[in-house]
Amino acid sequence: MNGSPAPEVLFRLEGVSLVSDGSPVLIGVDLELPAAGLTVLVGESGAGKSSLLRCLNMLDVPTSGEISFRGRRLSTMDPLVHRRSCAMVFQRPVVFAGTVLDNLHVADPDLSVDQARLSLARVGLREDLIEREADKLSGGEAQRLVTARALVTSPAVLLADEPTSALDRTATAEVESLLRTLVDDGLPVILVTHDLAQVRRIADRVVVMGSGRMLGTGAIGDPDLDSLLCGLGDSGSRG
């Protein structure tokens, strides 16, 4: 909706619908997600945001419609290869048993200690945490560790499903800063949130969802988008 040239399309969704347990979760979503910047999917609980993100990572498969990644249909791709290209972090940071280094080795068993230290530094974690038991990390540290772990696969995009919803204000600010740094380094990020204040703080582009449908898309400051966001705020979403 702004005047800048349209960026390359990373994901293209055409008529994507998803039915789970007999209930429609996504309904005929047509959408293009750019290969640059920080795109935020926002909507109320149950809007279908997380389900859409899972479809992008191939953890779920649309009941109908098609998703393309860099012009290739996901249905023709090896899910194991695709998932390494589309790193995903979840609402609850899941750390695996063992040390921080052990966690990074799950993503790449051949990762050297020096590379592991660089991975930690990239997400703002102290290098001396490398031998720390992962379940001893704070919530914010754990979220940064799982982000570092996801980035070990050198992905083309980072999918983040409400990564700050379980964090306090300070840790949320740290994670938001990390996401912005990654975007500035050239990694596109697609973030799911229902926090409208967060949308206004960090989004380059916003996709508004409701009841499984795509309601609108645009940049912060776009009047049409602002009215959609105000509608979400009025209907009780957290601001």
Partner: protein
């Protein structure tokens, strides 16, 4: 004297029971049932809601074992063709697979996984026990030995399949977090599946470790009651227990891995599983 001689060789007549009723008469059986009544009363007093299941289990075992006893009479008859015994073996294997599959209705194709698992355990176990001539192959030995092998394997397949199903339902987040890194479902669930296998086989490992201290197993006890020298009876029992242990480990591992595979879609996603039967 070989173990075959021990098992089948002549036993002093004075030490042999003359009939089943000499070991456990119907009166003794009734007394043992009275103890079950005590157990039911205790369960009722403690409000454990176990009275019904206990009575059902006892009733079923009474009917089933009586029928099995009656059916075994012609099977152990030396004049009965062996193929009847082999048919019984097949029935045991199929029933074990059916019983396992009934416990995990959320797992598609669990019957076939259990059938393959139990068949492998039975084939290898029977091959060892009869191939090494620990027992002589005939109708009197084939069915009871198969029952012991498959019975223990079935307990393990049930626990392994149930635990894997519970893990997929309860710890889906951890598995999907690893899948999101590009790991296959089997690789992503490896650590959790290991714990399921440990849970499934540890009772048999513990029982083997406690042999002779806490547990005086049935085969050995039966042989000693029948007048066989204790050390000879111990050798037979140990050989049997080791084969059973190997079968249990094999069954737990194969069933756990097979269950994970059956809960994985062709495009490497986890099927939705809900806890409970």
């Amino acid at each position: 004297m070989s173990t075959i001689d021990v098992w089948f060789g002549p036993v002093p007549a004075a030490t042999l029971p003359t009939a089943t009723s000499d070991i456990v008469g119907w009166g003794a059986l009734a007394v043992s049932l009275a103890f079950v009544g005590v157990a039911v009363a205790v369960a009722a007093e403690q409000r454990l809601a176990l009275g019904g299941p206990i009575i059902t289990a006892v009733s079923r075992s009474l009917v089933q074992m009586t029928l099995v006893g009656l059916a075994l009479v012609p099977i152990v008859d030396p004049t009965t063709p062996m193929y009847w015994s082999w048919m019984w073996v097949a029935a045991i294997v199929v029933m074990a697979a059916l019983t396992t599959a009934r416990r995990v209705p959320a797992v598609p194709g669990a019957f076939w996984v259990a059938l393959i698992t139990v068949t492998i355990v039975a084939a290898v176990g029977l091959g060892l026990l009869f191939g090494l001539q620990i027992f002589e192959l005939n109708g009197r030995t084939l069915v009871p030995v198969t029952g012991m092998l498959v019975g223990n394997a079935m307990k393990t397949t049930i626990v392994a399949a149930t635990r894997v199903t519970e893990i997929v339902a309860d710890q889906r987040d951890e598995i999907e977090a690893a899948m999101a890194l590009g790991l296959s479902v089997r690789a992503a669930s490896r650590r959790l599946v290991r714990s399921a296998v440990r849970t499934a086989i540890s009772p048999q490992v513990e029982q083997t470790a406690a042999l002779g201290i806490v547990v005086l197993p049935g085969t050995m006890t039966g042989l000693i009651l029948a007048g066989v020298e204790p050390l000879e009876a111990v050798r037979v029992q140990l050989a049997l227990m080791y084969v059973i242990l190997a079968g249990v480990v094999t069954a737990g591992t194969l069933m756990a891995l097979g269950t994970v595979d059956r809960l994985t879609t062709g495009d490497q996603r986890l099927r939705t599983v809900r806890r409970g039967r």
